[in-house]
């Protein structure tokens, strides 16, 4: 899980610090690691080859930067190349000047076309269109029914004149659907076709016929993010057989690295327009090249973390807690709240995995599991409100009571209380050092992480301290390399503007205008 490219490169390039520039030997050594990392991420071999050649070219002779160690620097180059390929030209969906616009979906069996049709329709409705779904998958048993149900859920019309299950001519259905759309005042027609293999000539011809019949404005190639080396062959077959104008990646909610995105993009040159990441109709989004790049490399996905945090944290509450942290007045009550909020974001291991640089703490992370958090939660809940507000009052007999009440040993309570004091002190220091409490969204995440670390870290205290400063230390490469480019401008700017040691409570003033 944490076996990321940056970890690998760090180990390869350990002895490299202090050199003026990357030597050829260094680059070769790293190229091998990059190759393995990309292959593990399912990037197709030919694409890996050309990609590495490019990276080598760029890495040669590039100055070793002051800020980044060589490993980070190589990762930065790789990442930039990836983003460039993946996002070279992002564009929006092409819609016809004279409605109806026609969007045709094509792909392998089981790549998620029918589900995607529903999601796309819903998304189009959100954009103010009136889409019509057309059931041209007459192959798979009950694909038509599925589309009807999906259409119903999305609240759009479905044109399904044929029952499917091998009955009916999809080309004819596609042709008639255009008239149907004109009648029904639908301005976008989404044609769902049957899944087909690139080698199935008959089916590919059928797809081409459908294309001829409806003259689509967009042909979207739907591809599963889990696909492996076959991505290239399949993409080429569809490019040659049907010809597509855009790509949609599905099933991104799994843990596949999704190297196929790179393969398909590189081989066919067509942009990736959408990403679908869940089973519900609303789990559908435009594609973010930078996030995909980090994902392929197995680097921390900070942006997703931030987004999840935004959903889970209550802004005002978070800001209040941030202020308290900074002033060293954090109480166990706040602690509990933050912990609950963090837990809303999913299993703790997943969250930590998203942090860049988490690899260095992976041993410690392996021990953090949700059960420990349950225990902490139970202990804190076993305290009276007064105790939570002022943990200093928790004396021996209170500890005994809390332990009994929450079903743990007294030493667990001791540990929690002691660690809480330590963590609080440390947080106050850090808050001062990093000018924390900056723009709302960022402060929230950071605090979230902190809260989590302070307590999740129960069993391995020494690493905590290494880990905590390690986190902000892990960030600097990101703005330049990782998901940086699309960090909200307020983030980087805000951070730089703050004089170190700035009192965060004063930060509220400059922040508020920004939020408004």
């Amino acid at each position: 899980m944490f076996d990321t490219l940056s970890d690998r490169l760090t180990s390869v390039l350990q002895n490299l610090r202090g050199k003026g520039r990357l030597s050829d030997a260094d680059i070769d050594a790293t190229a091998r690691e990059i190759r393995i990392a990309l292959l593990e991420a399912d990037v197709a071999l030919p694409v890996v080859r050309t990609f590495i050649a490019k990276v080598k070219e760029r890495a040669k002779g590039s100055e070793v930067s002051q800020a980044l160690n060589p490993a980070q620097q190589v990762v930065k180059i790789v990442n930039e190349e990836l983003v460039e390929i993946l996002g070279g030209e992002t564009r929006r969906l092409n819609l016809a000047k004279n409605p109806p616009s026609v969007i045709m979906l094509a792909g392998l069996q089981g790549s998620g076309k029918t589900t995607l049709a529903g999601k796309l329709a819903r998304w189009l409705v959100g954009q103010g269109h009136r889409p019509l779904l057309v059931a041209c998958d007459l192959q798979r048993p009950n694909a038509v029914t599925q589309l009807q149900v999906v259409g119903e859920r999305a609240g759009v019309a479905v044109y399904a004149p044929e029952p499917g299950n091998g009955v009916g001519d999809p080309v004819d259905v596609a042709r008639r659907s255009i008239d149907e759309a004109k009648h029904g005042q639908n301005d976008v027609v989404v044609v769902d076709t049957a899944g087909r293999l690139g080698v199935d000539e008959e089916m590919m011809r059928q797809a081409a016929d459908i294309r001829e019949a409806v003259q689509p404005d967009e042909v979207l190639f739907v591809v599963d993010a889990m696909i492996g080396q076959d991505a290239v062959t399949t993409a080429e077959a569809f490019r040659d057989g049907v010809g597509f104008t855009g790509v949609v990646l599905t099933k991104l909610d799994g843990d596949a690295r999704g190297g196929a995105a790179l393969s398909v993009r590189e081989v066919t040159g067509q942009p990736i327009l959408f990403a679908s990441n869940g089973e519900k109709l609303e789990d559908f989004d435009t594609f973010h090249p930078d996030r995909m790049a980090s994902r392929i490399l197995g680097m921390g996905d900070v942006l997703t973390l931030i987004e999840q945090a935004e959903q889970a944290f209550d802004q005002e509450q978070a800001e209040a807690a941030a202020a308290k942290v900074a002033s060293g007045e954090l109480t166990l009550e706040d602690f509990l709240e933050q912990m609950l909020a963090v837990r809303k974001m999913g299993p703790i291991g997943n969250l930590l995995g998203m942090l860049p640089g988490a690899g260095q703490m992976k041993d410690a992370l392996a021990q953090v599991d949700d059960k420990q958090l349950d225990k902490l939660q139970a202990i804190i809940r076993g305290m009276t409100p007064a105790e939570r507000d002022n943990p200093k009052m928790i004396n021996a007999s209170r500890r005994l009571r809390i332990a009994k009440g929450s079903g743990v040993q007294v030493r667990d309570v001791n540990e929690l209380v002691n660690r809480f004091f330590e963590a609080r002190k440390m947080m106050a220091q850090m808050a001062g050092r990093f000018g924390f409490g900056g723009p709302g969204r960022v402060s929230k995440t950071r605090k979230g992480k902190k809260g989590k670390k302070g307590k999740g870290r129960g069993p391995t205290p020494p690493k905590v301290r290494g880990g905590m400063p390690g986190f902000p230390g892990g960030l600097p490469p990101m703005p330049t390399g990782g998901g940086g480019p699309s960090l909200p401008p307020g983030f980087a700017g805000g951070m730089n503007d703050l004089p170190p040691g700035f009192d965060p409570s004063k930060l509220k003033l400059p922040k508020n205008p920004k939020d408004n």
């Binding site: 048993p141 492996g228 080396q229």
Partner: protein, 428 residues
């Protein structure tokens, strides 16, 4: 006095150097190229896909893990054949006079004799094998003298590419290549033909052909209840072909004169139950289904209950596709198994893997294995251009055999997994 010693030493060194140099040269010259010979053979109209072909029928075994005392019906041959097959495959020692001489010189390695008693022909091979592991010039030189085979650089790259492109993954590919290198040396391979045969056998071996691959889908007798249907649970991530596989498997069973009941525990995806019902209709099997959004565990339970009552031979339960990362959904699957287990032991848990899946397949198999204890893998969509090499890793890491192969949308496109056929398709 000392000068003569030095002289002798120098002489010996020179002789050795010459010998090793000659060995390296010989080895170079002897390098086998797969590329030239291979290219001409291969039909150029590649993306043909679906190279997988097998003649045999799907083997089925009765379920009921605890009481498998009864002899398997159509399963693999019984144990009494064993003694005959154990015989050492005697390697054809090519009558290379100069080789044998060299062997005699190098042979005095007493500890080898002490620990292992094997026919002398094996020693040369072991020596070669050991040398093959060292990449030094000396080792290579000696290897050359010993007549070990090796491929040229292009061929190695090609082999590696083939394996990587088949989704074996970087680690497995490297492992196979290392094995191959050793095998080529030990066997003293000389021609491209032989080299290819060795590659094939290395791959087949990596697939563990000795694994039990019969699908436990036949009824079994129990003392208390009499005939018990076999319960088969089909699981996998979205879009791998679970429902289709369930339908096809039902068809195979029905064709074999068995009665089958299908449980549509995919209550999530729109029209999944209808899809299964259509399959059931085609094969003439009963379907037990719940409402959309019903508890899949309840549906599965009902299906098994109905199956026991109706005294069918097998109950096949189709579950909803779920990504292994969704803890909630995986818990739900665990519950299905647990709840069904109250009624009857689940005999077979089939994990459906898509052949196009890349390295993520391992993660999938691992998590599903943890949650429902997968007993067999079905590799679907092998009729495309995808090779499905991920099963190498899955089999090795989980020790779960691939049992079935899906070859298309046709009703009869389900075949037993045969390592040889699979490897042939992979190398095609």
């Amino acid at each position: 006095m000392s000068s003569t010693v030095i002289l002798i030493v120098v002489l010996v060194v020179v002789v050795l150097a010459l010998a090793v140099g000659a060995g390296v040269l010989v080895a170079r010259k002897r390098r086998i190229s797969l590329t030239e010979a291979g290219k001409s053979e291969k039909p150029k109209d590649k993306p043909q896909g679906g190279g997988y072909a097998t003649g045999s029928a799907i083997s089925l075994a009765p379920g009921g893990r605890t009481e498998t005392v009864e002899p398997p019906v159509e399963a693999s041959p019984p144990a009494d054949v064993e003694p005959a097959t154990v015989a050492e495959p005697v390697e054809p020692v090519e009558a290379d006079a100069e080789l044998v001489e060299v062997v005699i010189e190098v042979e005095p390695a007493p500890e080898v004799e002490a620990e292992e008693i094997e026919p002398p022909s094996g020693r040369l091979e072991r020596l070669r094998g050991r040398l093959a592991r060292s990449r030094s010039t000396l080792g290579q030189g000696l290897l050359g003298l010993l007549g070990a085979g090796d491929l040229d650089e292009d061929s190695w790259t090609e082999v590696e590419d083939t394996l990587l492109m088949a989704d074996l993954g970087a680690a497995t590919t490297e492992e196979v290549v290392t094995r191959l290198r050793a095998e080529l040396s030990t066997k003293g391979v000389r021609t491209a033909e032989q080299a290819r045969a060795v590659l094939r056998s290395v791959l087949v071996e990596a697939l563990r052909p000795d694994m039990e691959r019969a699908v436990r889908a036949l009824p079994h007798e129990t003392a208390e209840h009499g005939k018990q249907p076999a319960v088969v649970l089909v699981a996998g991530v979205n879009g791998t072909g679970k429902t289709t596989t369930t339908g096809k498997l039902a068809r195979v069973l029905v064709a074999g004169g068995r009665t089958v009941l299908l449980g549509a525990a995919d209550t999530f995806r729109a029209a999944a139950a209808e899809q299964l019902a259509t399959w059931a209709e085609r094969v003439g099997a009963e379907v037990v289904r719940g409402k959309e959004g019903a508890d899949p565990a309840a549906v599965a339970f009902d299906a098994v209950k109905r199956g026991v009552e109706a005294k069918v031979d097998a109950v096949l339960i189709d579950t909803a596709g779920r990504l292994h990362t969704k803890t909630g959904l995986m818990d739900e699957l665990g519950k299905v198994k647990r709840v069904v287990g109250k009624l009857a032991e689940i005999d077979e848990v089939l994990l459906v893997l898509d052949a196009t899946t890349g390295q993520n397949g391992l993660a999938q198999a691992r998590v599903f294995g943890e949650v429902v204890d997968v007993t067999g893998i079905v590799l679907t969509k092998l009729d495309g251009t995808a090779k499905g090499g991920i099963v190498f890793q899955v089999q090795r890491e989980l020790g779960v055999p691939v049992k079935l192969v899906g070859l298309g949308e046709g009703a009869d496109d389900l075949a037993p997994f045969e390592p040889e056929a699979f490897v042939d398709a992979l190398l095609a």
